[in-house]
Every structure is written in C-alpha cells, then in structure tokens.
C-alpha cells in the first residue's frame, strides 16, 4: 500500500521526514507531528513535535519573553519628580534648623527693618532716643496728629459722625415708607 521509499528520489533527510509524515498520516505513528521543512535537524524538531503534541501552549511558552510579575509595573512611565506648577525650579537651599519661624499678620505685609538693640549699650543713648514718636513741630497750638495707641473711648467728632449716619439711614427708611404708602394709595 505504501510506496517504496527507495523509489522516491529524495535526499536522506527528506526521506526521514516523509517517513514521519506517512506514519503520522496513516495513524501508525501516533504522537508525531509532521514538519514540512526543518532547518535545525531532526533532533530539535522531534523535541518540538513532542512538546507541541503534549501541549500547544508549550510552544507559546518557548517563544515567550517571559511573564511579568504581579506588581512589577504600576505605572506606564518611570518615576518622575513632581513640583508645584507655581514653582518650576526647586530651591536647593535648606532652611537653618535653628532659624525661628516668623509669623507676620496678613494686614501687615511689610515688617519694619530689624533694629539690633543689643548693639546699643544700656545707659548710653546716642542723641535723642525716640524722635519719631513725638509729633512734628506744629505751626499752631492745636496738633491734628492723633497720638498713637488711642484709647477705647471715641472722640466726640467720631460720635457725631456715627449719629449723623444713623439719622440719615432712619430718614431714608421713613421716606421710603412714606413714598410707598403714597404710591399704594
């Protein structure tokens, strides 16, 4: 039934391949997979065939670059230092550890220049000590300058302004009521 192999004018390697193919096709050589042309010799092909028949996924495993461990990659790109958008350049100076933290009130943005009082020896003032606190030389007897650090009681002029304001508000309200009553009548 089978043709004689010697009659087929093929090389020795091809003859063995044909034999394998015929065995596989006839069902006699169960467990073989025919390879149409092999470059690495029969030995390597045989191992590949056996592995392929045992599990087709083993071929995929052989060619695979390997799996990725769980948790190997958590982001698509490498780590990158993030800075705030306002400060693109990082300051490289580190603050002194002992430097006191200065809190400036929001209403006072600028501080008076720091005066090193330790340089002035006690009991030996140089010239007038506080010339800025006193009001300047006024031309008249009445000084318009309010002394600093005013007390809790307002001046009479402040009281008067407050009263005038209240009276004007009351007048406006009464006038509006009266106008509305006239309009509704």
């Amino acid at each position: 039934m089978l043709p004689k192999l010697s009659r087929l004018k093929i090389a020795g390697r091809g003859r063995r391949l044909v034999l394998l193919g015929l065995l596989a096709a006839s069902g006699v050589g169960t467990g073989y997979v025919a390879i149409d042309r092999s470059e690495g010799g029969i030995g390597g092909a045989k191992a590949a065939m056996m592995a392929a028949l045992a599990d087709p996924l083993s071929l995929f495993t052989d060619r695979s670059p390997g799996g990725r461990e769980p948790g190997a990659l958590t982001q698509t790109k490498g780590p990158r230092e993030r800075t705030l958008t306002q400060t693109r350049e990082r300051p490289h100076t580190t603050p002194k550890a002992a430097a006191p933290v200065e809190h400036v009130l929001a209403s006072v943005r600028e501080r008076p220049p720091f005066v090193d009082e330790g340089a002035i020896p006690y009991g030996q003032p140089e010239g007038p000590i506080t010339p800025d606190i006193l009001p300047p030389e006024s031309p008249g007897p009445f000084s318009p300058v309010t002394p600093p650090g005013g007390g809790g009681v307002p001046e009479p002029a402040t009281w008067a302004m407050l009263m005038i304001g209240f009276f004007s508000i009351g007048t406006a309200l009464r006038r509006r009521q009266r106008l509305a009553a006239v309009a509704n009548r």
Partner: protein
C-alpha cells in the same frame, strides 16, 4: 479590497519604525488531522488549532512573526496571552502571526475575556491620553484597544494592548469588524 490597499499604504508610511528584530519564519508545525489540539477561551469556548508557527527562539520585545502563506481564508480570531506577553492571530485554525505585546499596569489593568472588534481606525488619536494610536482595533466601549505602540521592555499601557507598528498594520489588514479577540488572564490570576 480598498481597505487592504489603504492599510498597505499606511503600513508603508509607518514602516520607517521597523521592529527591533523580525524573526524569519521557516517551518510551520502542522498537527495531524484528527489530532487537532484545542485552545480554551475565557468564556469556555474551545477553538481548534490546525497548525502553529514554528518559532525556534525566544522572542524579545518588539519582535514579531507573520506568515500566512498557504493558509486558506476562514474565520479569524486573535488570542492575547497576557501571562506570556504574546499575541497570536489564527485564521481557519492556522496561526499566521505572533508578536510580543505590552499590556496594562496593575493600576490600569487590561480586561480579560472575549471581545469582538468594535471599530477599526487606521489613524486614531486618543481622546483620553491625547496620543497617536495608529491601527486601532477597539475592543471595549471604554477605550481598550489593540494599537501600534513602541514595544520596549519595562513599558506598559493604560489598559490597551500595544503591538509593534508594522505588525499592527498586518493585523489590521487581517481582521475585520466583529472578529473575536480573546484576552487570557496574566500570571498570578487564574480564572
């Protein structure tokens, strides 16, 4: 036919970015008739395999294999193996292409399961990431797709499946809308 021509044209355009190493595929491993092995899909379906490309060496990132000579026309499906980081294209039960892929990180994992190809776009610009994604094959409604990517070791995607650009062109021409893509779970996750 027109689509194939367009795809080829764009493939030429994208060819300046060749794969790292194109593996020559000589022999193909044919399974004897009646002893076809089957591959299980995540949804429980089984697909018969008639022949597999015989890749003798380990493929590296950026490598791919394509050989559809003497393979008849037929049902095409794609098997994405996240555990082996491989993608295989089958036509009529014969494997015609395979490539090393990139897939999503643990923070943005690639979904597993069986998906039909919803949309094909030769030139696509991701609205989510504002990036070019040529040869896009959309799989899910929330943007997971197979597309061309720079496949390098240590890289990952935001959930998509990245393949080398020239392989993406071949794959794009080989599949049609509605074809099945089966994504097998990665290592460490079973079921």
């Amino acid at each position: 036919m027109l689509a194939a021509v367009v795809a080829r044209h764009h493939a030429d355009r994208y060819l300046p970015d060749p794969p790292v190493r194109q593996i020559e595929t000589g022999p193909r491993i044919w399974y004897p008739a009646g002893q076809y092995p089957v591959l299980a899909l995540p949804d429980g379906e089984h697909r018969t395999v008639k022949s597999v490309l015989n890749v003798r060496e380990t493929m590296h990132f950026g490598d791919y294999v394509w050989n559809d000579q003497h393979v008849p026309q037929g049902d095409t499906w794609v098997r994405v193996d996240l555990a082996r980081q491989l993608l295989s294209v089958f036509r009529d039960g014969h494997e015609i292409g395979s490539a090393v892929i990139l897939y999503g990180t643990d923070g943005k994992p690639t979904p597993t399961g069986v998906f039909p190809i919803m949309e094909k776009q030769v030139e696509h610009r991701s609205s989510l990431y504002d990036a070019e994604m040529p040869f896009m094959l959309r799989l899910t409604g929330d943007g997971v797709a197979i597309h061309a990517s720079n496949v390098r070791r240590g890289s990952a995607t935001h959930g998509c499946i990245g393949v080398p650009p020239s392989f993406a062109a071949l794959l794009f021409a080989a599949v049609k809308r509605g074809d099945t893509v089966a994504i097998m779970p990665p290592a460490g996750i079973r079921g």
